[in-house]
Subunit: 284 residues, 2 copies
DNA sequence: AACCGGAACTGGCTTGAGCCAGTTAACTGG
DNA sequence: CCAGTTAACTGGCTCAAGCCAGTTCCGGTT
Protein backbone atom coordinates (compact mmCIF):
# COMPACT_ATOMS: atom_id res chain seq x y z
CA UNK A 1 0.00 0.00 0.00
CA UNK A 2 2.72 2.48 0.82
CA UNK A 3 4.36 2.44 -2.58
CA UNK A 4 5.99 5.57 -1.32
CA UNK A 5 9.60 4.62 -1.85
CA UNK A 6 9.64 1.99 -4.53
CA UNK A 7 12.66 3.46 -6.24
CA UNK A 8 14.61 3.45 -3.04
CA UNK A 9 13.60 -0.18 -2.72
CA UNK A 10 15.31 -1.08 -5.95
CA UNK A 11 18.47 0.70 -5.05
CA UNK A 12 18.70 -0.96 -1.74
CA UNK A 13 19.20 -4.66 -1.25
CA UNK A 14 15.93 -6.33 -2.16
CA UNK A 15 13.98 -6.94 1.00
CA UNK A 16 12.27 -10.28 1.22
CA UNK A 17 8.99 -8.67 2.05
CA UNK A 18 8.78 -6.45 -1.00
CA UNK A 19 8.61 -9.36 -3.41
CA UNK A 20 5.21 -10.74 -2.51
CA UNK A 21 3.97 -7.23 -2.08
CA UNK A 22 4.57 -6.54 -5.75
CA UNK A 23 3.19 -9.93 -6.62
CA UNK A 24 -0.09 -9.29 -4.87
CA UNK A 25 -0.29 -5.97 -6.59
CA UNK A 26 0.09 -7.66 -9.93
CA UNK A 27 -2.54 -10.23 -9.11
CA UNK A 28 -5.07 -7.79 -7.72
CA UNK A 29 -5.00 -4.60 -9.73
CA UNK A 30 -8.02 -3.49 -7.71
CA UNK A 31 -5.90 -2.22 -4.85
CA UNK A 32 -7.85 -1.05 -1.85
CA UNK A 33 -6.14 2.25 -1.31
CA UNK A 34 -8.29 3.28 1.62
CA UNK A 35 -6.48 3.64 4.89
CA UNK A 36 -6.88 0.69 7.26
CA UNK A 37 -8.85 2.69 9.81
CA UNK A 38 -11.23 3.91 7.10
CA UNK A 39 -11.67 0.44 5.73
CA UNK A 40 -12.67 -0.85 9.13
CA UNK A 41 -14.99 2.09 9.68
CA UNK A 42 -16.53 1.74 6.23
CA UNK A 43 -17.12 -1.97 6.71
CA UNK A 44 -18.74 -1.46 10.09
CA UNK A 45 -20.86 1.43 8.81
CA UNK A 46 -22.00 -0.76 5.96
CA UNK A 47 -23.01 -3.52 8.35
CA UNK A 48 -24.89 -1.01 10.44
CA UNK A 49 -26.78 0.68 7.64
CA UNK A 50 -27.55 -2.73 6.13
CA UNK A 51 -29.13 -3.67 9.43
CA UNK A 52 -26.80 -6.63 9.84
CA UNK A 53 -25.88 -4.85 13.04
CA UNK A 54 -29.06 -3.52 14.58
CA UNK A 55 -29.52 -0.75 17.13
CA UNK A 56 -28.40 -2.02 20.50
CA UNK A 57 -26.10 -4.65 19.03
CA UNK A 58 -22.54 -4.87 20.23
CA UNK A 59 -19.69 -4.28 17.83
CA UNK A 60 -16.66 -6.58 17.90
CA UNK A 61 -14.28 -5.44 20.61
CA UNK A 62 -11.39 -3.23 19.60
CA UNK A 63 -8.88 -6.03 20.10
CA UNK A 64 -10.91 -8.48 18.04
CA UNK A 65 -11.39 -5.91 15.32
CA UNK A 66 -7.70 -5.15 15.21
CA UNK A 67 -6.82 -8.83 14.97
CA UNK A 68 -9.38 -9.43 12.24
CA UNK A 69 -7.79 -6.76 10.05
CA UNK A 70 -4.24 -7.47 11.09
CA UNK A 71 -3.96 -3.98 12.51
CA UNK A 72 -2.95 -2.41 15.78
CA UNK A 73 -5.51 -1.78 18.51
CA UNK A 74 -5.04 1.95 18.07
CA UNK A 75 -6.07 1.65 14.46
CA UNK A 76 -9.25 -0.16 15.41
CA UNK A 77 -9.80 2.53 18.03
CA UNK A 78 -9.47 5.17 15.37
CA UNK A 79 -12.12 3.41 13.29
CA UNK A 80 -14.50 3.28 16.23
CA UNK A 81 -13.81 6.93 16.96
CA UNK A 82 -14.87 7.82 13.43
CA UNK A 83 -18.19 6.04 13.79
CA UNK A 84 -18.65 7.64 17.16
CA UNK A 85 -18.10 11.10 15.71
CA UNK A 86 -20.77 10.32 13.15
CA UNK A 87 -23.14 9.51 15.95
CA UNK A 88 -23.66 5.97 14.69
CA UNK A 89 -22.24 4.21 17.67
CA UNK A 90 -21.92 4.59 21.41
CA UNK A 91 -18.96 3.31 23.43
CA UNK A 92 -19.47 2.23 27.01
CA UNK A 93 -16.47 1.79 29.23
CA UNK A 94 -16.04 -1.81 30.25
CA UNK A 95 -19.07 -3.01 28.33
CA UNK A 96 -18.45 -2.53 24.66
CA UNK A 97 -19.40 -0.40 21.68
CA UNK A 98 -23.04 -0.46 20.69
CA UNK A 99 -25.03 0.61 17.67
CA UNK A 100 -26.96 3.66 18.68
CA UNK A 101 -30.72 3.44 18.54
CA UNK A 102 -32.58 6.39 17.14
CA UNK A 103 -35.19 7.25 19.72
CA UNK A 104 -38.28 9.01 18.54
CA UNK A 105 -37.68 12.72 18.39
CA UNK A 106 -39.66 14.96 20.59
CA UNK A 107 -41.34 17.36 18.21
CA UNK A 108 -41.66 20.85 19.50
CA UNK A 109 -44.14 22.84 17.51
CA UNK A 110 -45.31 26.39 17.51
CA UNK A 111 -48.55 25.16 18.99
CA UNK A 112 -46.73 25.04 22.29
CA UNK A 113 -47.70 28.67 22.64
CA UNK A 114 -51.33 28.12 21.82
CA UNK A 115 -53.72 29.56 24.34
CA UNK A 116 -56.26 26.85 23.74
CA UNK A 117 -53.84 24.08 24.59
CA UNK A 118 -52.77 26.04 27.62
CA UNK A 119 -56.32 26.37 28.81
CA UNK A 120 -57.49 22.88 28.03
CA UNK A 121 -54.82 20.91 29.76
CA UNK A 122 -53.22 23.31 32.17
CA UNK A 123 -50.07 21.44 31.26
CA UNK A 124 -47.05 22.81 29.53
CA UNK A 125 -46.53 21.49 26.00
CA UNK A 126 -43.33 19.88 27.13
CA UNK A 127 -45.21 17.77 29.63
CA UNK A 128 -47.77 16.82 27.02
CA UNK A 129 -45.17 15.77 24.48
CA UNK A 130 -43.15 13.71 26.95
CA UNK A 131 -46.21 12.04 28.38
CA UNK A 132 -47.30 11.19 24.86
CA UNK A 133 -44.07 9.21 24.55
CA UNK A 134 -44.83 7.26 27.69
CA UNK A 135 -42.11 8.93 29.68
CA UNK A 136 -42.44 11.05 32.77
CA UNK A 137 -41.65 14.73 32.46
CA UNK A 138 -40.09 16.99 35.02
CA UNK A 139 -39.26 20.66 34.83
CA UNK A 140 -36.92 22.27 37.27
CA UNK A 141 -36.35 25.97 37.65
CA UNK A 142 -32.76 26.17 38.79
CA UNK A 143 -32.51 29.89 39.35
CA UNK A 144 -34.23 33.23 39.05
CA UNK A 145 -31.77 36.09 39.02
CA UNK A 146 -31.40 39.61 37.81
CA UNK A 147 -28.63 40.67 35.50
CA UNK A 148 -27.54 42.52 32.40
CA UNK A 149 -28.79 40.81 29.26
CA UNK A 150 -26.42 39.13 26.79
CA UNK A 151 -25.75 41.06 23.62
CA UNK A 152 -28.05 39.12 21.31
CA UNK A 153 -30.87 39.12 23.83
CA UNK A 154 -30.62 42.85 24.47
CA UNK A 155 -30.82 43.41 20.74
CA UNK A 156 -34.02 41.46 20.38
CA UNK A 157 -35.66 43.06 23.38
CA UNK A 158 -34.65 46.51 22.27
CA UNK A 159 -32.69 47.08 25.46
CA UNK A 160 -29.45 48.83 26.26
CA UNK A 161 -27.02 46.28 27.63
CA UNK A 162 -25.29 48.77 29.86
CA UNK A 163 -28.42 50.31 31.33
CA UNK A 164 -31.29 47.87 31.40
CA UNK A 165 -31.57 44.79 33.54
CA UNK A 166 -33.46 41.61 32.90
CA UNK A 167 -34.85 38.77 34.96
CA UNK A 168 -33.04 35.58 34.06
CA UNK A 169 -34.90 32.32 34.60
CA UNK A 170 -33.04 29.06 34.07
CA UNK A 171 -35.13 25.96 33.42
CA UNK A 172 -34.12 22.35 32.99
CA UNK A 173 -36.34 19.82 31.30
CA UNK A 174 -36.19 16.11 32.01
CA UNK A 175 -37.79 13.01 30.54
CA UNK A 176 -37.50 10.03 32.86
CA UNK A 177 -34.93 12.02 34.80
CA UNK A 178 -32.81 12.32 31.70
CA UNK A 179 -32.00 15.95 30.91
CA UNK A 180 -33.15 16.83 27.41
CA UNK A 181 -33.36 20.61 27.26
CA UNK A 182 -32.18 23.75 29.00
CA UNK A 183 -33.97 27.01 28.59
CA UNK A 184 -32.92 30.41 29.79
CA UNK A 185 -35.61 33.05 29.67
CA UNK A 186 -34.85 36.76 29.78
CA UNK A 187 -37.57 39.20 30.76
CA UNK A 188 -37.10 42.98 30.91
CA UNK A 189 -37.40 44.10 34.51
CA UNK A 190 -39.88 46.68 33.31
CA UNK A 191 -42.14 43.88 32.09
CA UNK A 192 -41.83 41.52 35.02
CA UNK A 193 -42.28 44.23 37.59
CA UNK A 194 -42.99 42.73 40.99
CA UNK A 195 -44.90 39.78 39.59
CA UNK A 196 -44.03 36.16 40.39
CA UNK A 197 -42.04 36.16 37.17
CA UNK A 198 -39.41 38.26 38.84
CA UNK A 199 -38.82 36.05 41.83
CA UNK A 200 -40.84 32.83 42.08
CA UNK A 201 -39.47 29.58 40.78
CA UNK A 202 -42.88 28.03 40.37
CA UNK A 203 -45.33 29.92 38.26
CA UNK A 204 -48.54 27.97 38.70
CA UNK A 205 -51.08 26.72 36.30
CA UNK A 206 -50.92 27.39 32.59
CA UNK A 207 -47.21 28.00 32.26
CA UNK A 208 -45.33 31.22 31.98
CA UNK A 209 -47.39 32.60 29.11
CA UNK A 210 -50.48 32.73 31.24
CA UNK A 211 -48.54 35.02 33.58
CA UNK A 212 -47.43 37.24 30.74
CA UNK A 213 -51.01 37.54 29.60
CA UNK A 214 -52.06 38.65 33.06
CA UNK A 215 -49.43 41.37 32.87
CA UNK A 216 -50.87 42.63 29.62
CA UNK A 217 -48.58 40.80 27.25
CA UNK A 218 -50.63 38.18 25.43
CA UNK A 219 -48.32 36.21 23.16
CA UNK A 220 -49.44 36.85 19.60
CA UNK A 221 -46.39 36.18 17.48
CA UNK A 222 -43.15 34.36 17.93
CA UNK A 223 -39.82 34.54 16.24
CA UNK A 224 -37.55 31.54 16.41
CA UNK A 225 -33.98 31.63 15.22
CA UNK A 226 -32.56 28.17 14.89
CA UNK A 227 -29.02 26.96 14.67
CA UNK A 228 -27.11 23.78 15.39
CA UNK A 229 -23.61 23.14 16.64
CA UNK A 230 -21.57 20.80 18.76
CA UNK A 231 -22.13 21.25 22.48
CA UNK A 232 -19.67 23.04 24.69
CA UNK A 233 -18.07 20.80 27.33
CA UNK A 234 -20.44 22.26 29.94
CA UNK A 235 -23.50 21.53 27.84
CA UNK A 236 -22.22 18.06 27.05
CA UNK A 237 -21.94 17.38 30.75
CA UNK A 238 -25.14 19.08 31.83
CA UNK A 239 -27.30 17.49 29.18
CA UNK A 240 -25.21 14.30 29.05
CA UNK A 241 -24.92 14.66 25.33
CA UNK A 242 -23.23 11.59 23.87
CA UNK A 243 -20.20 11.96 21.62
CA UNK A 244 -21.11 12.69 18.03
CA UNK A 245 -24.40 14.34 18.87
CA UNK A 246 -24.97 18.04 18.18
CA UNK A 247 -27.29 20.42 19.97
CA UNK A 248 -30.01 22.57 18.50
CA UNK A 249 -30.13 26.13 19.77
CA UNK A 250 -33.32 28.11 19.47
CA UNK A 251 -33.34 31.81 20.20
CA UNK A 252 -36.99 32.47 20.80
CA UNK A 253 -38.64 35.88 21.00
CA UNK A 254 -42.18 36.36 22.23
CA UNK A 255 -44.13 39.29 20.79
CA UNK A 256 -47.43 40.71 21.98
CA UNK A 257 -50.37 41.79 19.86
CA UNK A 258 -48.61 45.04 19.08
CA UNK A 259 -45.50 43.20 17.94
CA UNK A 260 -43.59 44.34 20.99
CA UNK A 261 -41.02 41.83 22.20
CA UNK A 262 -41.47 41.06 25.87
CA UNK A 263 -39.42 37.92 26.38
CA UNK A 264 -36.49 36.05 24.88
CA UNK A 265 -35.64 32.43 25.61
CA UNK A 266 -32.53 30.58 24.61
CA UNK A 267 -33.28 26.88 24.34
CA UNK A 268 -30.53 24.31 23.98
CA UNK A 269 -31.48 20.73 23.35
CA UNK A 270 -29.96 17.41 22.44
CA UNK A 271 -30.41 16.90 18.72
CA UNK A 272 -30.76 13.14 19.09
CA UNK A 273 -33.86 13.52 21.23
CA UNK A 274 -35.46 16.70 19.95
CA UNK A 275 -36.70 18.17 16.76
CA UNK A 276 -38.84 21.12 15.78
CA UNK A 277 -42.06 21.03 13.87
CA UNK A 278 -43.60 24.23 12.57
CA UNK A 279 -46.67 24.72 10.53
CA UNK A 280 -47.45 28.25 9.52
CA UNK A 281 -49.12 30.38 6.92
CA UNK A 282 -47.10 31.89 4.11
CA UNK A 283 -47.54 35.55 4.79
CA UNK A 284 -48.03 38.43 2.40
CA UNK B 1 -1.33 11.53 39.05
CA UNK B 2 -3.32 8.33 39.12
CA UNK B 3 -3.63 7.95 42.88
CA UNK B 4 -6.15 5.34 41.94
CA UNK B 5 -5.08 2.52 44.24
CA UNK B 6 -3.88 4.12 47.43
CA UNK B 7 -5.29 1.40 49.66
CA UNK B 8 -3.63 -1.31 47.67
CA UNK B 9 -0.45 0.67 48.09
CA UNK B 10 -0.60 0.29 51.85
CA UNK B 11 -1.11 -3.42 51.77
CA UNK B 12 1.70 -4.04 49.39
CA UNK B 13 5.36 -3.49 50.16
CA UNK B 14 5.87 0.24 50.12
CA UNK B 15 7.14 1.18 46.71
CA UNK B 16 9.77 3.88 46.56
CA UNK B 17 7.67 5.91 44.22
CA UNK B 18 4.63 6.08 46.42
CA UNK B 19 6.42 8.09 49.06
CA UNK B 20 7.02 11.24 47.12
CA UNK B 21 3.68 10.77 45.51
CA UNK B 22 1.98 11.15 48.87
CA UNK B 23 4.39 13.94 49.70
CA UNK B 24 3.54 15.95 46.66
CA UNK B 25 -0.09 15.40 47.38
CA UNK B 26 0.45 16.79 50.84
CA UNK B 27 2.40 19.75 49.51
CA UNK B 28 0.06 20.51 46.68
CA UNK B 29 -3.43 19.53 47.71
CA UNK B 30 -4.64 21.13 44.51
CA UNK B 31 -3.81 18.10 42.38
CA UNK B 32 -4.68 18.49 38.73
CA UNK B 33 -6.33 15.16 38.18
CA UNK B 34 -7.39 15.90 34.61
CA UNK B 35 -5.83 13.74 31.96
CA UNK B 36 -2.95 15.33 30.06
CA UNK B 37 -4.89 15.50 26.79
CA UNK B 38 -7.83 17.19 28.52
CA UNK B 39 -5.54 19.64 30.24
CA UNK B 40 -4.06 20.67 26.93
CA UNK B 41 -7.48 20.89 25.31
CA UNK B 42 -8.91 22.87 28.21
CA UNK B 43 -6.02 25.31 28.16
CA UNK B 44 -6.32 25.84 24.43
CA UNK B 45 -10.07 26.20 24.62
CA UNK B 46 -9.64 28.77 27.35
CA UNK B 47 -7.20 30.76 25.22
CA UNK B 48 -9.63 30.62 22.34
CA UNK B 49 -12.73 31.67 24.24
CA UNK B 50 -10.72 34.38 25.99
CA UNK B 51 -9.81 35.70 22.56
CA UNK B 52 -6.12 35.35 23.26
CA UNK B 53 -6.26 33.13 20.21
CA UNK B 54 -8.50 34.80 17.67
CA UNK B 55 -10.31 33.28 14.71
CA UNK B 56 -7.80 32.55 12.00
CA UNK B 57 -4.89 32.33 14.43
CA UNK B 58 -2.61 29.34 14.30
CA UNK B 59 -2.31 27.03 17.26
CA UNK B 60 1.09 25.78 18.37
CA UNK B 61 2.09 22.80 16.28
CA UNK B 62 1.42 19.37 17.69
CA UNK B 63 5.09 18.75 18.32
CA UNK B 64 5.56 22.07 20.08
CA UNK B 65 2.45 21.48 22.16
CA UNK B 66 3.62 18.04 23.17
CA UNK B 67 7.03 19.35 24.18
CA UNK B 68 5.48 22.19 26.18
CA UNK B 69 3.49 19.76 28.28
CA UNK B 70 6.13 17.06 28.38
CA UNK B 71 3.78 14.70 26.59
CA UNK B 72 3.90 12.55 23.50
CA UNK B 73 2.86 13.90 20.14
CA UNK B 74 -0.09 11.55 20.08
CA UNK B 75 -1.35 13.09 23.29
CA UNK B 76 -1.20 16.56 21.79
CA UNK B 77 -2.95 15.15 18.75
CA UNK B 78 -5.70 13.82 20.97
CA UNK B 79 -6.15 17.28 22.48
CA UNK B 80 -6.40 18.87 19.06
CA UNK B 81 -8.88 16.18 18.00
CA UNK B 82 -11.10 17.09 20.92
CA UNK B 83 -11.19 20.75 19.94
CA UNK B 84 -11.80 19.74 16.37
CA UNK B 85 -14.78 17.63 17.37
CA UNK B 86 -16.17 20.63 19.20
CA UNK B 87 -15.92 22.61 16.01
CA UNK B 88 -13.61 25.15 17.59
CA UNK B 89 -10.64 24.50 15.41
CA UNK B 90 -9.77 23.48 11.89
CA UNK B 91 -6.68 21.45 10.97
CA UNK B 92 -5.04 21.95 7.60
CA UNK B 93 -2.59 19.39 6.39
CA UNK B 94 0.88 20.84 6.08
CA UNK B 95 -0.15 24.27 7.28
CA UNK B 96 -1.27 24.04 10.85
CA UNK B 97 -4.31 24.09 13.08
CA UNK B 98 -6.36 27.25 13.05
CA UNK B 99 -9.05 28.77 15.20
CA UNK B 100 -12.23 28.54 13.22
CA UNK B 101 -13.96 31.77 12.37
CA UNK B 102 -17.70 31.92 12.77
CA UNK B 103 -18.99 33.19 9.48
CA UNK B 104 -22.30 34.98 9.48
CA UNK B 105 -25.10 32.49 9.26
CA UNK B 106 -27.35 32.58 6.31
CA UNK B 107 -30.80 32.98 7.77
CA UNK B 108 -33.50 31.15 5.90
CA UNK B 109 -36.89 32.44 6.82
CA UNK B 110 -40.43 31.49 5.99
CA UNK B 111 -40.60 34.62 3.88
CA UNK B 112 -38.69 32.69 1.27
CA UNK B 113 -42.09 31.47 0.12
CA UNK B 114 -43.65 34.90 0.00
CA UNK B 115 -45.34 35.70 -3.25
CA UNK B 116 -44.51 39.37 -2.96
CA UNK B 117 -40.78 38.73 -2.71
CA UNK B 118 -41.08 36.33 -5.60
CA UNK B 119 -42.80 38.91 -7.74
CA UNK B 120 -40.69 41.89 -6.80
CA UNK B 121 -37.28 40.49 -7.42
CA UNK B 122 -37.81 37.50 -9.63
CA UNK B 123 -34.94 36.06 -7.63
CA UNK B 124 -35.06 33.08 -5.37
CA UNK B 125 -34.68 33.88 -1.67
CA UNK B 126 -31.46 31.94 -1.64
CA UNK B 127 -29.97 34.27 -4.21
CA UNK B 128 -31.16 37.30 -2.28
CA UNK B 129 -29.69 36.09 0.97
CA UNK B 130 -26.33 35.18 -0.52
CA UNK B 131 -26.09 38.42 -2.45
CA UNK B 132 -26.87 40.30 0.73
CA UNK B 133 -23.74 38.76 2.18
CA UNK B 134 -21.67 39.97 -0.72
CA UNK B 135 -21.15 36.52 -2.11
CA UNK B 136 -22.20 35.17 -5.46
CA UNK B 137 -24.94 32.57 -5.51
CA UNK B 138 -25.35 29.66 -7.85
CA UNK B 139 -28.04 27.02 -7.98
CA UNK B 140 -27.54 23.85 -9.93
CA UNK B 141 -30.22 21.31 -10.68
CA UNK B 142 -28.31 18.06 -10.81
CA UNK B 143 -31.09 15.75 -11.83
CA UNK B 144 -34.79 15.40 -12.50
CA UNK B 145 -35.95 11.82 -12.22
CA UNK B 146 -39.02 9.79 -11.51
CA UNK B 147 -39.14 7.27 -8.73
CA UNK B 148 -40.97 5.83 -5.75
CA UNK B 149 -41.02 8.28 -2.84
CA UNK B 150 -39.11 7.61 0.39
CA UNK B 151 -41.22 6.47 3.30
CA UNK B 152 -41.41 9.78 5.17
CA UNK B 153 -42.10 11.73 2.00
CA UNK B 154 -44.90 9.41 0.91
CA UNK B 155 -46.43 9.83 4.32
CA UNK B 156 -46.50 13.59 4.08
CA UNK B 157 -47.83 13.62 0.54
CA UNK B 158 -50.50 11.07 1.36
CA UNK B 159 -49.14 8.67 -1.24
CA UNK B 160 -48.76 4.93 -1.37
CA UNK B 161 -45.10 4.09 -1.64
CA UNK B 162 -45.70 0.96 -3.67
CA UNK B 163 -48.12 2.52 -6.15
CA UNK B 164 -47.51 6.20 -6.62
CA UNK B 165 -44.51 7.77 -8.26
CA UNK B 166 -43.00 11.17 -7.70
CA UNK B 167 -40.78 13.54 -9.62
CA UNK B 168 -37.49 13.90 -7.80
CA UNK B 169 -35.56 17.12 -8.33
CA UNK B 170 -32.09 17.43 -6.83
CA UNK B 171 -30.75 20.93 -6.32
CA UNK B 172 -27.37 22.11 -5.10
CA UNK B 173 -26.84 25.58 -3.73
CA UNK B 174 -23.50 27.36 -3.78
CA UNK B 175 -22.13 30.60 -2.38
CA UNK B 176 -18.90 31.65 -4.06
CA UNK B 177 -18.74 28.15 -5.51
CA UNK B 178 -18.78 26.69 -2.01
CA UNK B 179 -21.60 24.18 -1.61
CA UNK B 180 -23.83 25.17 1.29
CA UNK B 181 -27.09 23.30 0.81
CA UNK B 182 -28.64 20.35 -0.99
CA UNK B 183 -32.33 20.15 -1.56
CA UNK B 184 -34.31 17.24 -2.94
CA UNK B 185 -37.85 18.06 -3.93
CA UNK B 186 -40.51 15.40 -4.40
CA UNK B 187 -43.61 16.19 -6.43
CA UNK B 188 -46.45 13.74 -7.00
CA UNK B 189 -46.56 12.81 -10.66
CA UNK B 190 -50.24 13.65 -10.57
CA UNK B 191 -49.38 17.21 -9.61
CA UNK B 192 -46.48 17.80 -11.96
CA UNK B 193 -48.26 16.31 -14.95
CA UNK B 194 -46.45 17.20 -18.14
CA UNK B 195 -45.33 20.60 -16.88
CA UNK B 196 -41.68 21.70 -16.88
CA UNK B 197 -41.57 20.54 -13.25
CA UNK B 198 -41.55 16.98 -14.44
CA UNK B 199 -38.64 17.25 -16.82
CA UNK B 200 -36.91 20.60 -17.12
CA UNK B 201 -33.88 21.44 -15.03
CA UNK B 202 -34.39 25.16 -15.36
CA UNK B 203 -37.76 26.47 -14.31
CA UNK B 204 -37.63 30.10 -15.31
CA UNK B 205 -38.49 33.28 -13.53
CA UNK B 206 -39.98 33.32 -10.05
CA UNK B 207 -38.72 30.00 -8.79
CA UNK B 208 -40.51 26.73 -8.49
CA UNK B 209 -43.46 28.11 -6.52
CA UNK B 210 -44.53 30.28 -9.41
CA UNK B 211 -44.83 27.08 -11.45
CA UNK B 212 -46.88 25.39 -8.77
CA UNK B 213 -49.20 28.36 -8.71
CA UNK B 214 -49.71 28.10 -12.45
CA UNK B 215 -50.71 24.48 -11.96
CA UNK B 216 -53.34 25.46 -9.44
CA UNK B 217 -51.34 24.94 -6.28
CA UNK B 218 -50.67 28.33 -4.72
CA UNK B 219 -48.50 27.83 -1.66
CA UNK B 220 -50.53 28.93 1.34
CA UNK B 221 -49.05 27.11 4.28
CA UNK B 222 -45.81 25.34 5.00
CA UNK B 223 -44.77 22.73 7.48
CA UNK B 224 -41.13 22.46 8.38
CA UNK B 225 -39.76 19.63 10.47
CA UNK B 226 -36.28 20.39 11.67
CA UNK B 227 -33.58 18.13 13.03
CA UNK B 228 -29.82 18.19 13.33
CA UNK B 229 -27.21 15.46 13.18
CA UNK B 230 -23.69 14.75 12.07
CA UNK B 231 -23.33 14.41 8.31
CA UNK B 232 -22.98 11.08 6.62
CA UNK B 233 -19.63 10.58 4.89
CA UNK B 234 -21.31 11.33 1.55
CA UNK B 235 -22.78 14.57 2.82
CA UNK B 236 -19.50 15.51 4.43
CA UNK B 237 -17.80 15.11 1.08
CA UNK B 238 -20.53 16.66 -1.07
CA UNK B 239 -20.97 19.71 1.11
CA UNK B 240 -17.35 19.75 2.26
CA UNK B 241 -18.51 19.87 5.84
CA UNK B 242 -15.52 20.38 8.14
CA UNK B 243 -14.95 18.01 11.04
CA UNK B 244 -16.97 18.90 14.09
CA UNK B 245 -19.75 20.60 12.16
CA UNK B 246 -23.27 19.15 12.11
CA UNK B 247 -25.90 19.49 9.42
CA UNK B 248 -29.42 20.79 9.76
CA UNK B 249 -32.07 18.78 7.99
CA UNK B 250 -35.37 20.37 7.12
CA UNK B 251 -38.23 18.28 5.87
CA UNK B 252 -40.44 20.85 4.21
CA UNK B 253 -44.01 20.34 3.07
CA UNK B 254 -45.83 22.82 0.87
CA UNK B 255 -49.61 23.05 1.27
CA UNK B 256 -52.09 24.83 -0.96
CA UNK B 257 -55.02 27.00 0.10
CA UNK B 258 -57.04 23.88 0.86
CA UNK B 259 -54.28 22.49 3.05
CA UNK B 260 -53.46 19.84 0.49
CA UNK B 261 -49.77 18.88 0.40
CA UNK B 262 -48.38 19.13 -3.10
CA UNK B 263 -44.63 19.06 -2.57
CA UNK B 264 -42.05 17.88 -0.07
CA UNK B 265 -38.44 19.03 0.02
CA UNK B 266 -35.64 17.61 2.09
CA UNK B 267 -33.02 20.27 2.69
CA UNK B 268 -29.63 19.45 4.16
CA UNK B 269 -27.32 22.28 5.04
CA UNK B 270 -24.07 22.96 6.80
CA UNK B 271 -24.88 24.18 10.28
CA UNK B 272 -21.85 26.46 10.40
CA UNK B 273 -23.11 28.49 7.49
CA UNK B 274 -26.86 28.27 7.79
CA UNK B 275 -29.57 28.95 10.26
CA UNK B 276 -33.33 29.28 10.18
CA UNK B 277 -35.36 32.28 11.14
CA UNK B 278 -39.12 32.00 11.48
CA UNK B 279 -41.58 34.59 12.52
CA UNK B 280 -45.17 33.47 12.75
CA UNK B 281 -48.45 34.10 14.45
CA UNK B 282 -49.46 32.01 17.44
CA UNK B 283 -52.53 30.31 16.12
CA UNK B 284 -55.80 29.33 17.73
C1' DA C 1 -29.17 -18.21 49.66
C1' DA C 2 -26.29 -14.16 50.02
C1' DC C 3 -21.89 -12.37 49.69
C1' DC C 4 -17.33 -11.52 48.14
C1' DG C 5 -13.36 -12.06 45.50
C1' DG C 6 -10.86 -12.61 41.51
C1' DA C 7 -10.35 -13.62 36.50
C1' DA C 8 -11.23 -12.22 32.11
C1' DC C 9 -13.26 -9.43 29.47
C1' DT C 10 -14.41 -4.41 27.95
C1' DG C 11 -12.94 0.55 26.53
C1' DG C 12 -9.68 4.89 27.96
C1' DC C 13 -5.39 6.95 27.68
C1' DT C 14 -0.57 7.41 27.06
C1' DT C 15 4.05 6.59 25.22
C1' DG C 16 7.62 6.94 21.60
C1' DA C 17 8.73 5.57 17.36
C1' DG C 18 8.37 5.81 12.30
C1' DC C 19 6.83 6.97 7.66
C1' DC C 20 3.91 9.65 4.56
C1' DA C 21 2.15 13.87 2.38
C1' DG C 22 0.97 18.64 2.02
C1' DT C 23 3.14 23.64 2.49
C1' DT C 24 6.33 27.26 2.55
C1' DA C 25 10.36 29.80 2.12
C1' DA C 26 14.95 30.07 1.15
C1' DC C 27 18.38 28.92 -2.00
C1' DT C 28 20.04 27.71 -6.31
C1' DG C 29 21.17 27.72 -11.27
C1' DG C 30 19.84 29.28 -15.58
C1' DC D 1 14.75 37.94 -12.77
C1' DC D 2 12.59 33.77 -12.95
C1' DA D 3 12.19 28.74 -12.36
C1' DG D 4 13.17 24.74 -10.14
C1' DT D 5 15.00 22.36 -6.24
C1' DT D 6 15.50 21.48 -1.55
C1' DA D 7 15.04 21.62 3.44
C1' DA D 8 12.37 22.34 7.19
C1' DC D 9 8.32 22.84 8.70
C1' DT D 10 3.20 21.26 9.12
C1' DG D 11 -0.54 17.54 10.07
C1' DG D 12 -2.13 12.30 8.95
C1' DC D 13 -1.74 7.70 10.09
C1' DT D 14 0.04 3.57 11.93
C1' DC D 15 2.44 0.45 15.07
C1' DA D 16 3.44 -2.10 19.44
C1' DA D 17 3.38 -1.92 24.05
C1' DG D 18 1.73 -0.82 28.57
C1' DC D 19 -1.20 0.55 32.45
C1' DC D 20 -5.70 2.00 34.18
C1' DA D 21 -10.64 1.51 35.11
C1' DG D 22 -15.22 -0.09 34.41
C1' DT D 23 -18.19 -4.63 33.84
C1' DT D 24 -19.48 -9.30 34.10
C1' DC D 25 -19.52 -13.67 35.68
C1' DC D 26 -18.13 -17.64 38.03
C1' DG D 27 -16.69 -20.04 41.93
C1' DG D 28 -15.76 -20.30 46.72
C1' DT D 29 -16.87 -18.87 51.23
C1' DT D 30 -19.92 -17.64 54.79
Amino acid sequence: MPGGAPVKGWLEPVALGSVWRWDTMAEGPEQDKRLPSRRMADDLRERITQRELKPGDKLPSERVLAAAYGAARNTAREAVALLQAEGLVDAQHGRGVFVRSRPALMRLGANRYSRRLRGETGLSPFRIEVTKQGRSPRVECRSVTQDAPPEDVAERLGLDRSKDVVIRRENWYFADEEPVQVGVTYIPAAVAGASPLASEKTLGRGSIYARFEELGYPIARIREEISARMPTPEEAKGLSVPLGVPVIEVLHTGLDDQKRPFEVTRLVMRADLNGLDYEMPVED
